[in-house]
């Protein structure tokens, strides 16, 4: 097909452009709040509520809520076709580095006791399952968008979904040591972000 013919066909389809606008930030926040609510409810239904309170302490909730919020703001910027700025990545990367910094500050013996493979496997199964719905919602959004870097957009979507999953699972997490819970959840969220990057590379290209 020649370019002139293509232009003529696209012009014929001009009515489909009516009302085309990016999803407003307010709508994104509303969807995010709803998704968090649904994920928390799913965690309670699937895994119950921990009687002794959150395993990772109240800080656990705050850490994951903050990370989910920061990563969501980055997702909102990364969905446009504009080049991804450093600012887009700064907040979530800093939050993750701070988390890893806390763990790196521990003595080797403490690190061994808090970073446990069985915890990570358990959290991957539970948080991973809870992260599916938020990730699916973000993927629908991303498929309708035009991210300049599908890999980064996927990683950020994975970060948001993982953080929402971790936030929701904090209600049910049976790990008693707050640092152990934090490290297991952080590792899980990082893995989900990695999976998100791979999915984004394949799914968000346009």
């Amino acid at each position: 097909m020649k370019t002139d013919e293509l232009i003529a066909r696209l012009v014929d389809d001009v009515p489909s452009l009516a009302g085309a606008r990016p999803l407003p930030a307010r709508a994104m926040i509303l969807i995010a709040v709803l998704t968090v609510g649904v994920t928390v409810a799913a965690s309670m239904l699937l895994y119950g509520v921990r009687a002794a309170g959150p395993g990772s302490g109240i800080m656990g909730y705050l850490v994951w809520a903050a990370l989910a919020g920061l990563a969501l703001a980055s997702v909102a910027r990364a969905r446009a076709p504009m080049p991804v700025s450093k600012r887009t990545l700064l907040a979530p990367v800093c939050a993750l580095l701070a988390l890893l910094g806390i763990l790196a500050g521990l003595s080797l013996a403490d690190q061994k006791s808090v970073v446990r493979v069985d915890h990570v496997i358990h959290c991957l199964q539970t948080i991973g399952l809870l992260a599916i719905a938020p990730f699916a919602a973000l993927s629908v959004l991303m498929r309708r968008s035009a991210p300049a870097s599908p890999v980064i957009a996927g990683a950020l979507a994975g970060l948001v979904a993982g953080a929402i999953g971790a936030l929701a699972y904090s209600v049910s997490c049976p790990i008693n040591d707050p640092l152990a819970a934090l490290s297991a959840h952080a590792t899980t969220v990082l893995i989900i972000a990695g999976i998100g990057a791979v999915v984004g590379w394949r799914l968000y290209a346009w």
Partner: protein
């Protein structure tokens, strides 16, 4: 705000209200800019300019299908430029992969080059034999593009299929030839090992 930004903004907003003439002007303007950028990038990366028009068309389709990602509160020119850049780089990556696939022909020739002088003259025969093993469309396309040097367009016209079908058949044909050549190369190595 430069002229281009002002004009494109006006045309883009009008096209959202159903103005066909404005949308036509916008697309023609975008096509022109995309064509110049694509040709410059293709030229700089040492590729032929044949693919420039494909890139332009991909940009136009993206402008149409992703129109909703432009926020009227923001400038339109950087949005268009970002789409042109994304589609051009995406195409360059694809062309790069295709160039690698085309290099397979050299590899095929190396692998099928017989060990003995008596077999050396049979190289063309090997290629013919491998070509005969390809399914009809793939055989026709590889012979037309790879041996006769026809363009994809002329090949499509001759075979009565679309250009996309030609490209797909060409890549599949080359991949199949590479696999056949690998088998031959393995047999040749085996023979050489036995003789030693």
């Amino acid at each position: 705000m430069d002229d281009r930004e002002q004009l494109w903004r006006r045309w883009a907003l009008a096209s959202r209200d159903g103005d066909r003439e404005a949308y036509n002007r916008l697309l023609v303007g975008v096509a022109d800019r995309a064509r110049r950028f694509a040709k410059s990038r293709l030229g700089r990366s040492g590729h032929g300019l044949d693919d420039a028009e494909d890139i332009v068309q991909e940009v136009l389709v993206a402008i149409h299908t992703k129109h909703g990602t432009w926020d009227p509160d923001r400038p339109i020119a950087p949005w268009v430029d970002a789409i042109i850049r994304y589609k051009t780089l995406d195409a360059l990556r694809r062309i790069g992969r295709r160039a690698v696939a085309t290099d397979d022909i050299d590899r095929i020739a190396e692998h099928t080059a017989p060990v003995h002088a008596s077999e050396r003259s049979g190289y063309i025969g090997d290629l013919d034999r491998h070509l005969d093993a390809l399914p009809g469309l793939e055989r026709g396309v590889v012979a037309a593009l790879g041996l006769e040097g026809l363009t994809a367009k002329k090949c499509a016209e001759r075979l009565g299929v679309s250009e996309v079908d030609v490209r797909v058949a060409f890549h599949r044909g080359l991949a199949r030839l590479a696999r056949l050549a690998k088998v031959d190369a393995g047999l040749a190595r085996q023979r050489a090992g036995q003789e030693q």
